[in-house]
């Protein structure tokens, strides 16, 4: 108890420095928890992907559309249970900052392929029966206050409305889906392919659009590798070669499309964290040196070398655990806001238990790393030298 008091009082010797050190660690742990959670969220998307779905895209690039005629051909491949077009619409709601994913899809088959979208009674029928109808995720409904029956104007950037530039496409909210999996995007707007195709075709050049991807569901018991090979083989001689992948592989490729995001995030975060860790170690060394005379006094009074170690490691432990704890509180406090703000790119953003455990272990390692050098020095210090040394 007395050692605990001594450790605590030692920290109050330079209150401002202690506060700043704890604050530095709090920021470091907040960054670590948040950045790590971004990476785990990205990975979780790939890990949670359905094994029964495949994605077909152009072998050239995701930005090259596939002909609509491919759909019926893909449906003939053995093991394919259903195929839906998925076309990225790429618009925004009122302000350019209000961006979320919008896709033109084949509505009925999409609802069959994606059991992760849970609908309220009647929503499926309402969606299928309304040509301008849209299905939105509950994340969107929460963020923008959309309700069933509302008209949602989306300003296009890729597909201008036939009535002219700057005219919004209007969709009516027919239903709101609730993801049954945390990692499933709750911020999408899905609408009818037919409405999309007709509207685009009614435009100035009158061309029917292609589709960015086809989403396939394979029959239970089918070999996904064989189905992918079968789809690829269909279009080997063109006119447009395709690449069929598993949904998880597609997710991984999508994540790394703009560079290796997990590596980038981990490297930057790790660098910042290391810099702060070194600052903390330096602070603990300074604090240990300042307490040289106190250690000498304690030893003269009969306290052991081990007691000196306990005091200094205790101080390091206190600073690290408090800093990590505050960082954790900060990360948890901002979690809902970040999940909402980053929902489109990081669906299901959440701080996972393993990330918290990792942060806890890291806090303990920092405490040991920062405390061991001054503690070792204090243990080896000769009482006479310690009492003779200046602060």
């Amino acid at each position: 108890m007395e050692l605990l008091r001594l450790a605590w009082r030692g920290l109050t010797r330079r209150k401002l420095r202690t506060v700043l050190t704890v604050a530095s660690l709090a920021v470091a742990f907040f960054l670590m928890l948040t950045l790590r959670s971004l990476v785990t969220t990205l990975n979780a998307g790939a890990e949670a992907a359905s094994a029964s779905r495949l994605i077909v895209q152009s072998a050239v690039s995701l930005f090259v559309d596939l002909p609509l005629s491919y759909q019926s051909k893909i449906e003939t491949v053995d093991g394919v249970a259903g195929v839906s077009k998925w076309q990225w619409f790429g618009g925004y709601y009122r302000e350019e900052s209000n961006r979320f994913a919008q896709f033109a899809v084949d509505p009925a088959i999409t609802l069959d392929i994606y059991p992760e979208m849970e609908l309220e009674a009647g929503a499926r029928e309402a969606f299928l029966g309304n040509r301008r109808g849209a299905l939105i995720g509950e994340g969107l409904a929460k963020s923008y206050g959309f309700q069933v029956g509302d008209t949602v104007p989306i300003l296009p950037e890729l597909f201008p409305h036939p009535d002219g530039a700057g005219v919004a496409w209007e969709f009516e909210v027919a239903g709101i889906y609730r993801p049954t999996k945390e990692s499933f995007d709750a911020n999408m707007l899905l609408f009818h392919w037919d409405y999309f195709e007709e509207t685009v075709a009614a435009g100035q050049n009158g061309e029917a659009p292609g589709t960015g991807t086809y989403v396939l569901e394979i029959e239970p018991g089918s070999d996904a590798t064989e189905v992918m090979a079968g789809v690829d083989a269909l279009f080997e001689n063109g006119p447009q070669r395709v690449q069929a992948t598993s949904e998880s592989e597609f997710q991984r490729q999508f994540v790394t499309m703009f560079g290796n995001v997990p590596f980038f995030v981990s490297t930057i975060g790790g660098g910042v964290f290391l810099a702060i860790l070194l600052a903390v170690v330096n602070t603990m060394l300074m604090a240990g040196r300042e307490q040289t005379r106190d250690v000498g006094i304690l030893k003269a009074l009969g306290f052991s070398d081990g007691d000196a170690v306990k005091i200094l490691v205790g101080q390091s432990l206190f600073i690290s655990v408090l800093g990590a704890g505050l960082g954790f509180v900060l990360a948890r406090a901002t979690e809902p806001g970040l999940a909402s703000a980053l929902g489109a790119m990081f669906p299901g953003y959440a701080i996972r238990p393993e990330t918290m455990v990792g942060a806890g272990i890291l806090a303990l390692l920092i405490a040991i790393a920062a405390g061991i050098a001054p503690a070792w020095r204090a243990a080896r210090l000769q009482t006479v030298d310690a009492l003779g040394g200046d602060e």
Binding site: L3, L6, R9, D294, I297, L301, G302, S304, D305, V384
Partner: protein, 235 residues
Amino acid sequence: MTDTGIDLVQVTKTYTRAGETVRVLDGLDLRMEGGRYYALMGPSGSGKTTLLNLVGGLDRPDSGKVVVAGEDLAGLSRAALSDWRGGNVGFVFQGFNLIPVLSAFENVALPLALTPLSRKERKERAEYALELVGLSDRMGHRPRQLSGGQEQRCAIARAIVTDPTVILADEPTGDLDRDTADQVLELLQRLNSELSKTILMVTHDPHAAETAQRIVRLDKGQLIGIEETASAGAR
């Protein structure tokens, strides 16, 4: 009855500073009786503080024997020496050496943390020690809130709180004005006469040395002589 005296037999101690070896104590033989108040005098570098550190178990001799209150310190491990120090020796330093972030009460109670006493008993003992040195009204003050004399009295309270056999004082009045120094010296005299503590005080001040019963004189690490003071006769 337990011998509370101090025996040094053929004690040698050398230090190496900046590559140069200095023999601080050179085959010193000295016997100091228990329950007596000794002043240790000599020019700078004569080995006074080194002798005090050896007797207090803060340092070890290169050769020879140091026996304090019947305990041969050479036979004790580093940990055992710490334990022994906690129970048998009280230190009073020139620079007071109080822990700045603890109050006067907490400083005095600190050595009691190593004893099996209950919290209540520790509190009573620390309060009694502070009362003995006249600091009952300054218990909650931190060292920087005390005057030099009060700080030294607080350090003396800390030195006696465990009821040690021996009190070792290194220039206890060195940083104090004359009046305050006299109060501290009087306090040490009382600890010797009323509580029968063996006291060994290093000092340069002849006036301070005269308050002890005997003066031990050292020079170049060797004993020059031991003489009785007028105070010895008065008691």
